[in-house]
Symmetry: C2
Subunit: 418 residues, 2 copies
């Protein structure tokens, strides 16, 4: 599919992350307006609440856009999702008869503050990148035992903490936690010394289910995707995670990009999961191309210094798709709700340069990464700004996500001082 032309000039460049082909959904505010639903188009945001009030968009008898989340639109169901996208394309396409009515409802993105685009209902984080699982497993258990026996049969995941989800641009405070090195006699309570990123994609559940659903049903229930950084305190994790999994090591913050890129916008970029080393059981098998060809990268900028690219990889490197994760999530009858967020797991490619965490890039701290400034990093320093970038590359256009960024603040001197 080629670039779709819009009368919004900035949307027609090959460089904009937000051409008419994309139309991602966010929540924005300005000096004059409270947080509300908007759609990115070039370097502008279409104020959906204003468009609804003006009668240009009519999705439901009740207004659904004058709220600081997209959950109400999701609740309307897939037909409404399709109708909204079709209507937005009508309004914003080159030659639209409604250009004159729509143009005043555009807000420059530069004047807007972006907020979390949804109310996150519950958050689940998976471990579905095979290279990542192999790398981490090799470090902890040796390469011969790297992959747990269940790994090729189910997408391993654990429940995370929805309250910790923040939008891109939110500073992240280095956490305290209980730590115990392998040679320490006793644990101590101290600031995390091995704070890390995890490069992930997040899938947003747009339709509730109450019982097991198939992979095809799960795919249909996904509303869209975001970039996701699962900040991880490796030293807290090492001490706490046996036997019941990560807990406080993953609860400080998880940052998502501000725009929900819809499944419809990503449709041309569908790609197959990799060849299966062991056949999946029927209820988890692919029902078509279910991953997406999305280029991903991570940059690290020390305070006041230029950014270095830490890694470049692609979402298609995953072993399990979000639809397979969601299907597995329902096998026990677990009810899923609108606004549930599923982290893909860290996306690492096969090469060293494509690893999705500092844990892997520095091989547990043994091979520090050298930045362009000459500094080295095994894990994150205070003041570091980490940014995830993502784009699906089309014919003369790209589908971008907007940056997923956060700056590390130093740990509190005394976490209990009031």
């Amino acid at each position: 599919m080629p670039l779709m032309k819009s009368w919004v000039a900035s949307a027609n460049s090959a460089e904009t992350p937000f051409p008419l082909n994309n139309l991602p959904y966010g929540v924005f505010s300005t000096e004059d307006s409270d947080p509300r639903c908007g759609v990115a188009i070039g370097d502008m945001i279409l104020d959906c609440a204003a468009a609804e009030e003006a009668g240009l968009i009519e999705l439901s008898d009740e207004p659904v856009f004058d709220v600081p989340f997209w959950n109400e639109v999701m609740e309307l169901g897939a037909e409404a999702w399709d109708a909204l996208r079709a209507r937005l394309i009508q309004l914003l396409a080159d030659g639209s008869p409604e250009q004159a009515a729509t143009a005043p409802l555009l807000v420059p993105m530069a004047d807007a503050t972006l907020h979390l685009p949804l109310l996150v209902s519950e958050y689940t984080d998976f471990y579905a990148g095979k290279n990542h699982a192999f790398n981490v497993g090799s470090m902890f258990r040796g390469p011969e035992n790297a992959l747990p026996p269940n790994w090729l049969h189910i997408p391993i995941g654990y429940n995370g903490r929805a309250s910790s989800i923040v939008v891109s641009g939110t500073d992240v405070r280095r956490p305290w936690g209980q730590l115990k090195g392998p040679n320490d006699e006793a644990p101590r309570f101290a600031p995390c010394a091995r704070f890390d990123l995890e490069l992930e994609m997040g899938a947003i559940v747009g339709r509730a289910s109450d019982g097991p659903i198939t992979v095809a049903e799960a795919d249909a229930n996904i509303f869209g995707y975001v970039l996701l950084n699962d900040w991880s305190a490796r030293d807290i994790q090492a001490w706490e995670y046996q036997p019941l999994g990560p807990f406080q090591s993953k609860a400080t913050a998880t940052t998502i990009s501000p725009w929900i890129v819809t499944k419809a916008a990503l449709e041309p970029f569908r790609t197959n999961t990799p060849a299966r080393e062991k056949d999946l059981l029927p209820h988890l098998r692919d029902c078509g191309p279910m991953l997406y060809d999305i280029d991903l990268s991570v940059t690290l900028a020390p305070k006041g210094k230029p950014a270095t690219t830490l890694t470049r990889t692609n979402y298609s490197a995953m072993y399990y798709s979000a639809a397979q994760q969601l299907a597995h999530h329902t096998t026990s009858g677990c009810p899923m709700n609108v606004g549930d967020l599923l982290g893909s797991g860290t996306i690492s490619g096969e090469t060293k340069e494509s690893r999705g965490s500092l844990l892997e890039l520095s091989w547990g701290g043994k091979e520090p990464v050298t930045l362009d400034s000459g500094e080295t990093r095994s894990f994150l320093d205070d003041g570091d700004t980490l940014t995830l970038h993502g784009a699906a590359k089309g014919d003369g256009y790209q589908i971008g996500f907007g940056d997923c960024t956060g700056t590390i603040l130093p740990a509190l001197t005394d976490p209990y001082a009031r």
Copy 2:
């Protein structure tokens, strides 16, 4: 403290779970009324929404009781919690000048349907009973390695699934899941064959926090307690839980009792945590008696047959209090919200007769339990009705929770049939 006398006659018996000393909070509906907040007193429920409308209770400028959850009352804060309890005691105490105005607002409990008493924000399940952890660890790793190295230093917990919380009386459908026995060549997808209960208490967070809080602050932030049955699919759990913890094995359902027993009602029953085998780090240390002396038991009734008591134990058998769990939960900066629910972990006493799960009672299925009917159980059968009972025993009165019960429905023949 002796029994407090009420003009509601049924509240003055030593046998009622709901004397004036208790006043637990629930949500009820009748043929004539939608779900709303109510307070149990003897065999009656005081309709708090009606009392608010009549001007007998005034907690806030806005009505807070004519909703199907107690979250709005919790949001008002601890002073309002105290004021409400004081006012309810005024209204319902023997000799109350407002008896005549209040009496018409009582609804017989027998005519009411009980609902979930709160909107569960997020759910965390702990593993803080030492006897349980030791028993399970012994079965899986032998008694010498039973307790993980971190166990005596932090209350181990994992995030559960809030969407799976149901109120007492809700039937529980036996789940399907991926299973693989130690001698199976490959996993298969089949109904769970080792479905189990876990006898727990649940603590309800009534005040939000955004950063680390002390144990004393955590104790102050707890609104009340419920009984909690963490239904567990042991065969699904065994295959999935390494390396990231329980997931689908715990996501079918978790049942809670219908009445939130307030911290204030339980105050006379505070008791110390057991002696510490290793000193806790300062931020997790007790700051007074923080467990409660609550007698607990579990009964199992096969379909159409009388119930057998499976176990009798006490909440004071826990190693960590809910306040310590909540404090630990915030160490990383994890934001906590009103309506968060914390499961205590399985409450097993030291003797065989006081174990809180069939996994322990039947020692992994090796020593089936014999019921009064002569049948045996290693795990739960379809049609079994499981009931948790709990009461703090005072001087001529008791503080009860109401039953926490559920009946096992057979697994679906084909979970994907529509």
